[in-house]
Amino acid sequence: MSFFGFEQNNDLENEKRRFLEGGLSGAKQEDVAVYTWGEESYDGLGDALQEGGDELNDETFGAAEDIGKDFDFSGTALPEHQRAAPHQPAQPPERGSSQQQTSQTSQRASHLEPSHSSQLDAIWGNKSPFSVLPRSNGSSRTVDQLATQSPKYTHKPSSLNLGPDLHKGVHTLEEIEKEMLAAAAAQQRRQQQQVDEHSVQQELQEMQLQEHMLHQQHQLATPGLLQSPTRAHAQRPPAAAAAAVGIQNTATPPPRMHPHSQSPRFHQQQQQHQIHLLQMQQQQQQQQRQLLELQEQRERQQRQQLLQLQEQLKLEELERQQQLRLQQQQLQEQQYIQNHLLHQRGISPALSDLHHRGMSPAMGERARRVGRQSPAIMSPQGTLDVPFAQNMQYLPQNIQMQQRLLAEMAQAEFLSTMQGPGHSERDLREARELQEMLRVEAMRKIMEAERMEEKRKRKLDKIAHMSRYNDLMTQSDKDFITRIQVSQLVTQDPYADDFYAQVYGAILRSRMGIATSEDRVLRFGSGGGVGLGLAQKVHGRRQGAMQRMEAQVERIVNNARLREKEKTSLNNLQGALGRTSGRSYKAAPRQLLQVDTSNVSTSPTTSHATAAHISKADSTKQEGEGAAREAAKMGREALATATEGLVRKDPLTHREALVKLEHLYDLVLDVEQRRRDQPPLEEVEEFEHWTVECNAIIDQIFDELMVSVPLETSHPHPFVSLITPIKGKKLLPRVARIFELQRMQVLLTLIVACFLQLDVVRQAPLLDSLEETREVKDLEVQTQAFQNSVVQSILPVIAKAQMRLVIGLFGILLDECTVHSIAMTRVSRTPGIALLTLFLSRVEVLRHNVATGSEVEELPTAEEMQRWHMMYNLLFDMIRPNLQLLFPSVRLALQANTSFVNIPNADVIDQPVWQFLATLAVHANEEQQQALVGGLREIVLENVATATKGWGNDSEERRRLRLANVNIFLHALGLDSSQITL
């Protein structure tokens, strides 16, 4: 067995093989071996055997029913063993030597005692069922297999001739005798040689079997071979059987039995196996009896000889049984000992080697021999497979696992022989527990493997089951369905119909930095197309599908067009005599494509088209009426303006504002679309036409924004009403993109003029509260929108504004504040601060330009600067008394009655104020700067102190921000927070 690399030492192996192959051929040697048991290793089993006289032959052969307890393997009543046990205290180490002696003597006998050979030959050439029976559990199959597998061996076992003869069934005695005589001479000559050959053959066979099983495991691992498990199942028994035969041939182990050490289940399995064997034997005996009767009737003269043979067989059978029984006992013992060992120090393959080396040479040699002979080691898989084999599916994984498990057991057994017997009661219990654990573990693994296998099989079955429906649809069927599906998606203007996805994709792509201006639209040459939505990873297959789809849709569209033409030409046949085959029979089904074909054929083709036409006309009529009314109103207003200079109007209601905003949005969208469809500059006429149209729409937008409506028209101003909803605020940046600067300046002026009317300014004081009411939240959102949309859109305008404009706007703002006493408190809130900061910084830039004499064409005049200083002083005086109250955190702290440093997020909301104060400080004269420092001293110190000394539990980031805020202001004064000593 290559498992432990022992195959080189073949003498013992050979003996075993010979026995396996020849069945009873080893009888001669065996009987020599049996009777030469003696010297030191004699285990007394010879005494236990009932042998010698023929007086018991009748009992043996005649009464098969009364078997006695010879075959009772359950281990409850084994007198021989009970008897034998005391004689064999030091059996295990000696077992091997005794066996070897046996084999040596048997070999010697085969050479030196030709007198026995006739008898031997008779057995050797025996084709009677007896010779077959020991192998009837399947070993013959392996021979067959071998014969087919390796032609080299097919001619050699002619003397054995096991393969074909086995299938013939029971032979007649004449046949047997003939064959016996014929084979006798050759048999004798070649016996030894055959034996050797067979051993080699057997070995090869076993290796092949193992390989085959391995191969099967591989096959199993790859899906597709559904029948492989069954094949494995079919394949497995021979191996098990061969192993079973192997048991019979191995040395007799000492009868140390611990039946209780086995788990009930294991025991049961063993019993089942034993029952199986028993049945076999009974069968055998029956056949023997039948045969005997036959013999007695026919050939009396040969009866004596045969009886002798029978007796030998029987004896051998008995011996084998006993051996088998002992083997099983040994097995149980092995496991128990193994567990014990496992418990004691764990099993490792190296351990056995260690033991070898650690022993005296003689002991080591002996041990090696024992190891070689021990059945578990000789055939670990076979020997221990037997109990499992009875009721388990032979799944390759299981087998593999078992092999591993059993190899370990074998090793343990080997170690146990070193240790010798003698275990305390506690050890036994522990061993039992451990064994149970091991068994459970093994079972769990087996179950798991089975489950996995089952799952895999189910999956394969399902796939196989589903594959019945493969190719039910042809490619043209699939194309047809695709056409139907795609035709639903085809539109005249794929970009417009897929607007959201297109623009969203473009925004996404620009955000990701992928510059592709192309629309993700599939356009067809003849108009129409399909929007593809977001750009996705294009697989090769997908692209192919796209092209196919394109071609198909192209075809449908063209076909639809052709049909339309055909129809119109048929209509021309009206009035023709006879029957014209129109397409009336095809008219009923719904048209595949509802493409507006007006650009191809002028006639309204479908009711749908006409309906659309009518509704369109209706809507235009209504629009016209509305426009007329509007025009009349405007005319009246214009008239009124002309006569009285002003028409007082109610401010726009929320709803009116929203409606107007929607219309504005439509216009803006229109302009944006037109800008996207800008014709190339080369096509002058078209370009001019486009420019005119665009400008007309922009003019309309400007008008509808009502920026030029006199300030006093209503309160709030209509424009303010328009930008009150977030929607209106968000419109401004888009409008700003399409308006030129001058219009934006008008817009800016209006915003500044109506600044106090703005919702975010009017309600600004509401924000000075820590309460989280809905109004406050709404206002926060609105303020945020104002900062992001309105301030952002007027920022570039102010950045380009001339001094004159800035002074003008500043004046307007200050006027408002001086007129209304509470105005300042409102202006000094976030939006106002932002606006003031913008103005102050712009003026600073302009002043800087004056100082450096840079390229700005319209430098502020001295007079303008004079005015600016005047206004600045005015502003400063207004701000001065309540410098601290500029900070939102301070106002919130006043409300909440705590220190401003405790206000959450104070640094963030204060930042614009610090920036404003910095710009204020830049413009301030010395006296004003001192006033500023005096007024803010407290806050600055507090901030610096908390920032540097880390009072409170502020985070590092917050402290840095706080310090940065203070520094913005201090740097404007030429100072730094580091100069402040606390």
């Binding site: 607007f499 369109k616 439509d666 969208l669």
Partner: protein, 95 residues
């Protein structure tokens, strides 16, 4: 076509589909067609205790007509663009 267009941009995002039978399924949007049939992956049903039969279901195809609501991930929807798209569509139908 607008909603279809919107859903096209939402593939591979997580959405919650509320069905007319009060089942609420959350999952990764795999695909949508013009009938707003929805294919979801890695689905999870809102109240698993009430719908134990859905626990084993990993993906599903929902017929568009049985959908009551679809909860979209706000961060993956451009509201302003959506507004524009609706305006365009209404403008297109008005014309």
């Amino acid at each position: 076509m607008l909603i279809f267009s919107v859903f096209k941009t939402l593939t591979d995002q997580t959405v919650s589909v509320e069905l007319k039978n009060d089942l609420s399924i959350t999952g990764t949007l795999k695909s949508v067609d013009q009938f707003l049939n929805i294919r979801l992956d890695n689905i999870k049903v809102l109240d698993e205790g009430r719908h134990p039969h859905m626990m084993a279901v990993k993906n599903c195809f929902i017929r568009g007509s049985v959908v009551r609501y679809v909860q979209l991930p706000a961060e993956h929807v451009d509201t302003q663009l959506l507004e524009d798209a609706t305006r365009r569509e209404t403008a297109a139908t008005k014309r």
